[in-house]
């Protein structure tokens, strides 16, 4: 090859080899350290009037790391802000509630790293992300401004989750990463020495978590609809309404054809909520807030299911019915219950009347309801349980009905005066529609919640197992007696299976994932998308059309309810045949599910026929035409869509004067280059051959 070609090849080979031989890294990797074990970032929710939650700039929020352990550090930040500019505060989860308002308020704090060491308890202060008066806007007492509502002991009255943070919050529970932040980053570079701020370089971080929706729910929904993409395929996806399903079961079922219908005040409703929430979408264990009530209700369902035939015939004689209702979305302004009552008013509950189905259920309306017993937070350590009534209902004509059921349960009233208020509970929604339905709410608290972690990321591992199981068993037994007496006029022959409660407690609460114990492993056998189902998530979430993405707690509770209340069909031997039965729609009284026997240890599966159904839990706000989203009548919560690139990077920031030096150097280099170019231009006649064309056609090249 020719001389110049050879030189070109040599240069090319060197260029390619240099990065390989010098173990070349991207410059970015040499500067930034990525901490990516955390999958818990605070996300944004929007309702009819506000946006709450977190937001970062599209390229992330950058600030100097500052460890806050007391208000002294916050004062230091306030005074220091000229020195460093913007801060990312690292704070232990124990102190979060105390300083949440200050962290949210201070504009010089542009991000928060919440550190939770798993081995340490969160201390006696607790942390709840909900407001002091949960669900205040949609409560039945919202008109009554004089009344003080402070059920939830939290240091941030509005609720940490409901502040508009406009800064990202990352939850870190990996011990290695916490050590990196506290030791390698903070103590080595940033911690003030003898009260004096440290010199540069200091350790800084960039947090990126970008939410696309803003302002409020009507805005993001309207913009989604209005957006006309430049091509037909582009859509603007900003936010999604929260939606899932309630699980209900009637026992015995009604049948219009057989003239078995609801009568006035003939239905006893036993209800519990199955959801909780947190600002971190994957941290919603809701153990005391929701799961405790769910386990209690499941235990009662199991006990009645053991004697299902006996119960059903006794109930039919009295023309009474029992409705089990596991409601979803209650912690976010009563999504499930408000929808259930809305459907009742439209006579669409549990399903609309249909002309094509032969044996169909009767529609339940509010005047068929005779009693509501709700289970709300059961089992905190050693505490007594109380029944809560609404003072107006209790001092009215229904007092006797309430007292009768109360006597059966053996609980005492938290407040028996005529100013007694209900805690935040689904029963409130029933009373909003008809202010004379007798009922009460059972909970482990009297005037303030015992649960210091109500609706928060930390609502797990706080219960004492032995005491909680005892409490759940006791409440389940009391509720069972109340239910069977009211519906079937008998209470002997029904027993709570304490081992069942122990198993469920172990499965839902003690174990780290929801499929690590026998019962739930069997329950999740036929469920799709097991990777999601095993996560301890009670948040209602948004939902595409895929069943496989819907709420784990709902899908698992459904299997458990069917297992307790269903009957095995003898001649149905395959999953397909079972599915075929539900497709046939000869009746809508029963549902058909293919699952394992949860209490056996064999591998045989059966087709269970039961009255367990799923009804929509989506706020009526999204159904009603021209609903005024600012009215506060129904839940209007939507969840923002967030950009996929989420990251947390640490790096060292050099002194600001470095930027000045770099700039000056660049200017000097620029001027020098310009001078050289000018010089070369001037002397170019001397350098370049004055006779062009001499080289072209040279035969030796």
């Amino acid at each position: 090859m020719t001389h110049s070609n050879f030189r070109i090849y040599l240069i090319a080979i060197c260029v390619v080899l240099v990065p390989v031989l010098t173990n070349g890294q991207r410059v970015a990797d040499q500067i930034y350290m990525k901490l990516d074990s955390s999958t818990s970032q605070c996300f944004r929710l929007l309702n009819g009037t506000h946006q709450v939650g977190c937001q970062s700039k599209e390229n992330g929020n950058t600030g100097i790391i500052y460890l806050v352990e007391s208000s002294a550090e916050l004062d230091a930040i306030n005074q220091d802000s000229g020195n460093y500019g913007e801060y990312i505060v690292a704070i232990d989860a124990r102190h979060f509630d105390e300083f949440a308002s200050a962290l949210q308020r201070m504009p010089s704090i542009v991000g928060v790293l919440l550190m939770q060491r798993n081995s340490e308890p969160l201390g006696s202060s607790g942390i709840s992300e909900d407001a002091a008066c949960p669900n205040e806007r949609t409560s039945m007492y919202s008109e009554d401004a004089a009344h003080k509502c402070d059920w939830n002991p939290t240091q941030t009255a509005a609720g940490v989750r409901f502040l508009d943070w406009t800064k990202p919050i990352f939850l870190i529970d990996n011990a290695t990463e916490i050590d990196i932040i506290v030791k390698s980053c903070w103590e080595t570079f940033n911690k003030p020495v003898d009260g004096m701020a440290r010199e540069f370089p200091v350790c800084a971080a960039t947090l990126t978590q970008f939410m696309t929706a803003a302002k409020d729910a009507p805005t993001c929904l309207r913009r989604q609809e209005m957006f006309a993409g430049l091509s037909g395929d582009t859509t603007l996806h900003l936010c999604d309404p929260l939606i899932d399903e309630n699980i209900i079961a009637f026992l015995p079922p009604t049948n219009k054809t057989a003239k078995q219908m609801f009568e006035h005040e003939s239905v006893f409703v036993l209800t519990a909520r199955m959801d909780s929430f947190s600002m971190f979408s994957d941290r919603t264990p809701g153990e005391e807030s929701a799961i405790s009530g769910v386990i209690t209700l499941l235990a009662v369902a199991n006990a009645i299911g053991q004697k299902r035939e006996q119960f059903s015939s006794a109930a039919r004689q009295r023309k009474h019915y029992l409705l089990f209702a596991l409601l979803h979305g209650e912690s976010l302004d009563y999504i499930g219950s408000s929808r259930m009552l809305y459907d009742m008013n439209q006579t669409k509950f549990p399903v609309e009347a249909s002309s094509s189905v032969k044996d169909q259920v009767d529609q339940l309306t509010i005047d068929h309801i005779g009693f509501v017993l709700e289970l709300n937070q059961i089992g905190s350590s050693g505490g007594e349980h109380f029944a809560h009534v609404d003072g107006t209902v209790y001092s009215g004509i229904k007092r006797e009905k309430i007292d009768t059921v109360l006597k059966d349960t053996g609980f005492s009233l938290a407040d028996d005066s005529n100013t007694s208020r209900l805690p935040p509970a689904s029963y409130q929604q029933f009373l909003k529609h008809s202010h004379s339905i007798p009922g009460f709410v059972i909970g482990d608290y009297k005037t303030k919640f015992n649960n210091k972690y109500y609706n928060s990321f930390a609502d797990s591992d706080n219960l004492d197992a032995a005491k909680a199981i005892d409490a759940i068993t006791k409440v389940a037994e009391s509720s069972l007696k109340a239910v069977t007496n009211w519906v079937a006029n008998e209470s002997t022959g029904y027993t709570i299976d304490r081992d069942y409660i122990k198993d469920l407690y172990d499965c839902f609460i003690t174990k780290k994932f929801w499929d690590e114990c026998e019962i739930l492993k069997r329950a999740t056998t036929y469920l799709e998308n097991k990777a999601i189902v095993r996560q301890k998530t009670t948040y209602i979430g948004t939902q595409g059309s895929m069943e496989a993405r819907s709420s784990p707690i709902k899908r698992i509770a459904n299997v458990l309810m069917v297992g307790s209340l269903g009957e095995k069909l003898p001649n149905v031997d395959t999953k397909e045949q079972c599915g075929h039965l539900s497709g046939l729609k000869k009746n809508n009284m029963y549902s058909y599910f293919w699952q394992l026997d949860l209490l056996q240890s064999d591998n045989a599966s059966y087709c269970y026929q039961s009255t367990v159904m799923q009804t929509p839990a989506q706020s009526p706000a999204f159904l009603i035409e021209d609903y005024d989203m600012t009215s506060g009548k129904y839940s209007t919560w939507v969840e923002s869509v967030w950009a996929p690139s989420v990251s947390l990077k640490l790096f060292l920031r050099p002194p600001p004067r470095y930027s000045l030096w770099i700039f000056l150097t660049a200017m000097v280099v620029l001027l020098v280059s310009m001078a050289i170019c000018l010089l070369l231009h001037r002397i170019s006649p001397l350098l370049i051959d004055a006779h062009p064309g001499a080289d072209i056609g040279d035969p030796s090249l």
Partner: protein, 101 residues
């Protein structure tokens, strides 16, 4: 088009045409008029059509000034009030911001 190659009558004709068409809510035509014929109207030594050309350029300039004021005012009003106008603001927008109101 190079004005050097065009006769003075033609120049007057163009300037006039641009002015009148600009009345159809086309302020950029007036901008073109002002920029293009400025030298002809004010800097070149007098020629027979210059007076008329000068008039058209001045009228275009006045119209341009009014339109500028109008546009600037509307921009300021819209940018500062778009969020407060809520739904109406959105109906007037073509592209929506992500992540902030």
């Amino acid at each position: 088009m190079d004005l050097k190659k065009v006769s003075d009558d033609e120049k007057l004709f163009l300037c006039k045409r641009y002015f009148y068409w600009g009345l159809a809510l086309l302020p950029f035509l007036w901008l073109v008029n002002v920029v293009w014929f400025f030298k002809q109207a004010f800097i070149r030594p007098p020629f027979p059509q210059q007076n008329l050309i000068k008039n058209y350029v001045i009228y275009s300039g006045i119209g341009l000034g009014l339109w500028t004021v109008l546009f600037v005012t509307w921009q300021v009003v819209f940018q500062t009030n778009r969020v407060a106008w809520g739904a109406s603001g959105d109906y007037l927008s073509f592209v929506f911001p992500k992540g902030y109101a």
